[in-house]
Symmetry: C2
Subunit: 141 residues, 2 copies
């Protein structure tokens, strides 16, 4: 279960497993699909979880560093997140007209990326790839 992995990461980094962090972790995993910091915070607020916005912002990077959550940049001027368990790695096609996001996964690309990292003697921690364009529905208009 994900809390173990988080606890392990925190211990390893000398940080504490607090109530707020547990609640944020749970909410991130309760959410399927993409979410941003504000959305996560609103849901906690609605449930009167007693966690502040600042703590949400402080905790999300920890979840990312522990590889439980992935940070995405969908070009909207804010960070988007998704949890990783049961969501194998994938990348995104983003329609610049309607904002639709399509997910794709391509193992061959990943293999090539690993080759590139080897070439640069670079330790890959995460990677993301966005393709911006127009989806078929928007092209029809």
């Amino acid at each position: 279960m994900e809390e173990l992995q988080f606890a392990e990461y925190l211990r390893h980094t000398g940080l504490k497993l607090t109530r707020a962090r547990r609640v944020i972790l749970q909410e991130a995993f309760r959410t399927h699909g993409h979410f941003d910091a504000e959305a996560l915070y609103s849901r906690l607020k609605k449930r009167r979880a007693g966690v502040s916005r600042a703590t949400v912002y402080r905790t999300l990077p920890l979840l990312v560093n522990s590889n439980l959550v992935r940070k995405l940049d969908l070009g909207e001027g804010r960070s988007t997140f998704e949890h990783t368990l049961g969501h194998p790695h994938h990348d995104h096609l983003v329609c610049i007209d309607c904002g639709s996001v399509f997910e794709f996964h391509n193992p061959k690309i990943e293999t090539l990326q690993q080759g590139i990292c080897k070439e640069f003697d670079f330790e890959m921690l995460s990677h993301s790839q966005q393709i911006y364009g127009r989806c078929k529905d928007c092209r029809r208009k």
Copy 2:
């Protein structure tokens, strides 16, 4: 020359080629490597080019749409740009410790990306890919 391409784009879109836009275009091409809006604006200011920050922010998207400039998301909370002429398409390895950015280009990945777009019936306009990790120098420490 790049101004022709920009003029062509503007005409096609029903926009005007103004002095401010010309100056911003030139400054973008005078800059080699990455730059952000603020950096471009400071350089113009230093030269007393008489162009406002607002106009820089309004013009950069036009340069991006005309394919003269590429917009990057290097995960720093702001947009980074680079001009495209003489800079063939490439992607980035970003070191999360020291911030170094290494460029790479891989035609095989591009071919695979095109295949993905075909599969989704998606018209690719641009794409970018970042790999976050640790460079060899930072790993030594």
